[in-house]
Symmetry: D3
Subunit: 190 residues, 6 copies
């Protein structure tokens, strides 16, 4: 199984990559013990690779009114709605680790309405799903509903922008038939 292709598209050779791209890949390898396939698949296009991960980090790694676990909840819920195997499996693993909860990712992937989350987190996911699935219907009253749960204007931007970024990410993964690394499935389960 581990020899299954990780992309429908040809992969670049590591040696041929620009040094900054190769260094980013080597850094994640060192940190995680393996290279998540998204790095190898997107490296085919270095400029797009740089923009993608820079955008990802700006939304997912910096300080925010949302915890890192909450941001991963948004990724898992919307990626499941988009039938994106890579993102649900990989970010499900990250969510388990960041929330220190082995159940939450699977609960949210199947039906976030029945997950072990707070009403505030449910409101967050309601809005993220609206942005993911029917963003044209977003009206001011939808943002007001978030404010009632204490979300600031910047928090609302974060929720919507993460749903928007993974709308792109899910489509790239589905376009390329990006395969989740086997390592992700069992991470954070015990």
């Amino acid at each position: 199984m581990s020899s299954a292709p990780i992309s429908r598209f040809d992969l670049p050779k590591l040696a041929d990559l620009p040094s900054d791209v190769r260094e980013r890949i080597e850094a994640v390898q060192e940190k995680s013990g393996f290279v998540p396939n998204v790095f190898l698949v997107l490296a085919r296009r270095p400029d797009e690779f740089r923009a993608f991960f820079s955008h990802h980090d700006a939304l997912m790694e910096k300080d925010s009114g949302l915890s890192k676990a909450e941001r991963e909840m948004i990724v898992v819920a919307t990626s499941s709605a988009n039938a994106c195997q890579y993102c649900v499996v990989a970010h499900g693993a990250i969510l388990r680790i960041r929330a220190k909860n082995p159940l939450l990712a699977d609960q949210i992937a199947v039906n976030y309405l029945k997950a072990d989350i707070t009403p505030r987190q449910k409101a967050m996911l309601d809005f993220a799903m609206q942005v993911a699935l029917e963003s044209g219907t977003v009206e001011q009253e939808d943002l007001d509903a978030l404010a009632e749960h204490g979300f600031s204007e910047d928090d609302v931007w974060d929720i919507g922008a993460i749903a928007a970024f993974f709308a792109m990410s899910n489509r790239l993964a589905n376009l390329t038939a990006m395969r989740p690394n086997d390592e992700f499935y069992a991470m954070g389960r015990s």
Copy 2:
């Protein structure tokens, strides 16, 4: 009308922006004669601004097997499916100019199946719409259908990646209630 807000979110002051962001905005102002609102709305978050426009340019401005007009067709068709006013109006203008055709953008926005395009371009838009609307169903046979129209592997990536990028862009515009500049509506119509 020109005094209507261009975003639901507070806008940054130009003077407060990092110099590279401000310079990009000034450059587009000089080139176009006005600042498309997307630059002002996204400048609220400089890191995301940089990644967004860098990603945009990598897909829309570089050499490709798709003409620039064809790439704009993908933007107009998928943005209309996502009910994104900003992108249909702004990129409709760009499409009219790049295709030197005053009718094509409106035709594609309403129903690309009845637009004045070639069978190859129709196949391109069929795939772009699949990526935009149900990317989880993309299978190898969908890519093979594009190959029959002469699209290379890199062309397929371009089609899918543009649909994916504007899946994000449309959601950001709908999140922020981004208003198209009045200037776009009449551009390229004569």
Copy 3:
């Protein structure tokens, strides 16, 4: 482009048409400077032609609690939902002229929720879209919501009946692949 077919079906010869049908066509030609293609396409069936335009005029030309511009808003919004190129382009032109507003038609065609309209007009379009897209769900409370915006019983009939009439009109245009005249695209834009 102007030599593209205007219908999938054979067109009748003007000389062969019943005189009342021909006279109506000549009258519109004189008034508008060109013959909108809907007249030529539907003339294939004189009885249906007469009923169609008589119904159209009863709804769109007579006095009503809705302004003529408001009635065109209903046409543009619902025709866009039905992916009807002819009606969006032709009635978009009429809306620009009747509303003396070069932006409104494009705004409504893409997403009426973000158009420069009043709350009363938004309620009108909400109901028109419900009739257009899921009329089986219309209940008394939907009509009551219109009454709260000051719409009379006759206004409600007008809104619903216009949405219903263009449900037919959109389907006839899509059936026949009715092509919008080139003239419509630029009308009312300056």
Copy 4:
């Protein structure tokens, strides 16, 4: 039950109606033994009444390559898809009578794919449903599929135009909460 309202809108008094409208109503009363409610509900607007029934008769009563029973099949199938109680019940009765078949209307209303019809009639209903539900997707190849079953260009127009006319009719009935006369339910069942 027979005292339930037949419309959400006020009904005109027969005595106040223009004589041609009143005469049409009296004629149908004489012929059928009762007045189908659609005549009373639409008489509120005499001009629309005249256009509606003139259009109806042009499609449903004249000679055509489709039998009268086949035309009623189109009405029942598409009206059911539009959740239009009046049209399914009233035209179900007419279909039973015209087809001399007490089962066909109920079969088609629930699922025409499993009705006792010929492959040619199934192709007819496939196309009628496409026009009713997603007319924007109609392409030349859909018409070609009908030609393979022996349908002429005029037959195709009839199929599509009947589906289009009842798209309007269904919406008017749902708008007005038009109630089917009790008489229709049992007609043609033995």
Copy 5:
């Protein structure tokens, strides 16, 4: 017509059936004067037959806070939404008989929102349709809405469980192309 096949699958011979299955079939024949096809079609699998009818009777025949007619309303409404010809026709007949109302079944099959039912029954069908069509969205507030109409916890279970059982039943009927007996169509109409 009566010689049309009643299932896509081969039918077992009555003589080959286990005696309890055969006896159940003979009992219903004696009681109704004919054998509803569902008994013959499902007898192909005796264990599944036994479980199916035992489950059916537990929900539809025992005492409950819902009348037997109300339970049949649920069957007709949800089976119509699932395009199940057998269940709409057969249970439509039973509903007519149990409600002593010749109109109700057809009204509910086409659009229960416009049927001659009480507000309490409409709330019951709203919930049944939610369970039938999007059960993943059921939340506590949906059950609370039923409680406001006086439904007990056991009534709610009945509504949901009947919708769930016929979700299975409709799919079995559609899988097997189960044909409604001709007898059902006219039952209970006078």
Copy 6:
């Protein structure tokens, strides 16, 4: 977390249950080391409990042309489409064990089109999903497509009947807000 309620409905006391129901529960406890919540939730209604598990065992435990792992694939794929948390989590665990594959359940839950399955198994799941989501469209040609992959008439029944049974099961779980036991999440992952 383990103290979260396992049903929206009151649970019966074990001591109050009929002895056959209690014995079935004690047997599964002995075999599995814990009682899957579905047994406790459904025990509220002993007759329905008996029919449900008898039906379940007839489809899932007996000999069949489908392997036990293949039958669980059908459960996981269709339960995910129905947003049924209990069934995806519980049967995901069983699938991992029966297929001796720690990845397959998560792959299928998110997008079976990209799972590590054979073309024959993909055809099986295509049909199961059609039965689960739009059974009214099943036609003979859909069964013929299965025959081409070597499925017998009895295999087709099994595929469709399992999809049908879990259509019921998913709705019961969503009705009751049935909570998956914590034990399921990690089972079969190493």
